[in-house]
């Protein structure tokens, strides 16, 4: 079950935010959003989500830098983070995974794929994967 799980979506495109929020909310997720890169790490600490969906090309800070900071902090080192980006080359995937991304998904995506990925990450939370 995913009811009651909290996801933080860090994304700066309003209509992508609205669509993802709708897709996940319909599945029982509590969706918080944040649109700035500069204070995204603070937002993660403050909102304490169960998992994060992180855009890479944010207006004021790269998602990769945010991910690196999250992995450097004991409190968020194991937090599941899905990197969601329009930059889908192999080198981008490798960069994200090497920084500790739990999942890597390329835009545009199928809604069902996004949902399944989030569910899988939640299942990993429950099983300790």
């Amino acid at each position: 079950m995913t009811n009651g799980k909290r996801v933080l979506l860090i994304e700066d495109e309003p209509n992508i935010i609205e669509a993802v929020r709708f897709i996940l909310s319909r599945d029982g997720w509590h969706v918080a959003t944040h649109s700035q890169g500069s204070d995204a790490v603070d937002a993660v600490r403050a909102k304490a989500p169960d998992l994060v969906i992180l855009d890479v090309m944010l207006p004021d800070r790269s998602g990769y830098d945010i991910l690196a900071d999250l992995r450097a902090d004991d409190a968020t080192r194991a937090l599941p983070v899905m990197v969601l980006t329009a930059r889908g080359q192999q080198k981008d995937r490798e960069a994200a995974l090497s920084l500790g991304a739990t999942r890597f998904m390329v835009k545009p995506f199928a809604n069902a794929d996004l949902l399944n990925a989030v569910r899988d990450m939640a299942a990993g939370l429950q099983t300790g994967d």
């Binding site: 495109e13 209509n15 609205e18 669509a19 090309m57 329009a86 080359q89 995506f109 199928a110 996004l114």
Partner: protein, 437 residues
Amino acid sequence: MRGIGGEGARIRALRLQKGLAQAGLARDAGISPSYLNLIEHGRRPIGGKLLGELARALDSDPAVLSQGAEAAQIETLRRAAAASGTGSGPAPELDRIEALGAGFPGWSALIQRQADRIATLERAVASLGERLSHDPLLSASVHDVLSAVTAIRSTSAILVEDPALGAEWQARFHRNLFEDSRRLADSARALARQLEAGADADRGATTPLDEMEAWLQARAFHVAELENAAASDDTVIGLAADLPSGPGRTLLTAHLQQYAADARSLPLDALARQVARHGADPFALAAAMGVEPAPVMRRLAAAPADVAGAEIGLVRCDGAGALTLRRGLRGFGLPRFGSGCALWPLYEALWSRRPLMRRLQQADAARPVRAFAVSETRFPGGPNAPGIVTATMLLVPHGSSADAAAPALPVGQTCRICARTSCPARTEPSILPDAPL
């Protein structure tokens, strides 16, 4: 066309291409100029030992002189087969390649044109990838397009897949679709403008380095305007203005500034006198002229053929191994993208910091080449800042018979298109058919 006239015409064409005088070639081949003249005009037959001597003096192959275009065509077919990769279906019958060339000249020409076209398209794809990586404006435009497409795809899927969606949500998502479709139209137009603006620069030459090399190649790497000691920065800037892109002009400006400085310290007439005594050996020339080998290598590569005395290739790399200048030499292929073969002395010079001379032979080359390599270190940020290292490698044809006694080091162009087995330096699999992993 075979026969007496064919070889002679090919010898003459090759001699003129190399800028050699009839007297000089005749002397090198051990015959009189008048006899060479008769050969070139098809009035004397040629074969056997004399054909070999003329081929050696022209740094060519007897088969090329005797068979000409047919041999070249077969070589082209062989390269097309090698570059085709390991796809499904039967492999090309390389043992029957000569029958293909002779029996089906039209099909052979078609294969050749298609191989050329594939190579052109691959360069364009690589160029676009490079532009996306290094052009922030283009990258931002692509990101805008993909963001709009992402929003449209997700939103439209919600509308289609959820028939029970409430009217309020439907209205919101329809409005979002309208906004995103307008945004997509705008960003697609912007992207098209950027691609069209770059199209002219991409035609033929595809990267700033390609642009610069194409400009230099058109002049055989010799820039007569800068041979005058009075050449100014304005001359350099005026020459570099030929290139279509800003990055290309920046590269060419730096190259021409170094060219002008080298020309002032090593004038062409002084170089020519020493080459006449020492040949195209940059180490011997540097010792004789009391200068470092690297500028001598650059001057040899920039000198007209009658001064250098031989066909010259030049490769330069930075401290990270990226090739920053490529002048090819027949019989020694250089990669169009990425780094070269790790066995080249160019790379050894980066760490050994001593002058190196090696005889090298690539797998598909008829003969080895001589390679001279050195590195230079500059400290533009002062003694406490990191040094900037570059290495330069001069390539000259196989050289004298004395050289031929020493074994040549087997090398390649770059791993991806190298078929050498058991190479200790291989870093990635080859795409050539039946090549090692």
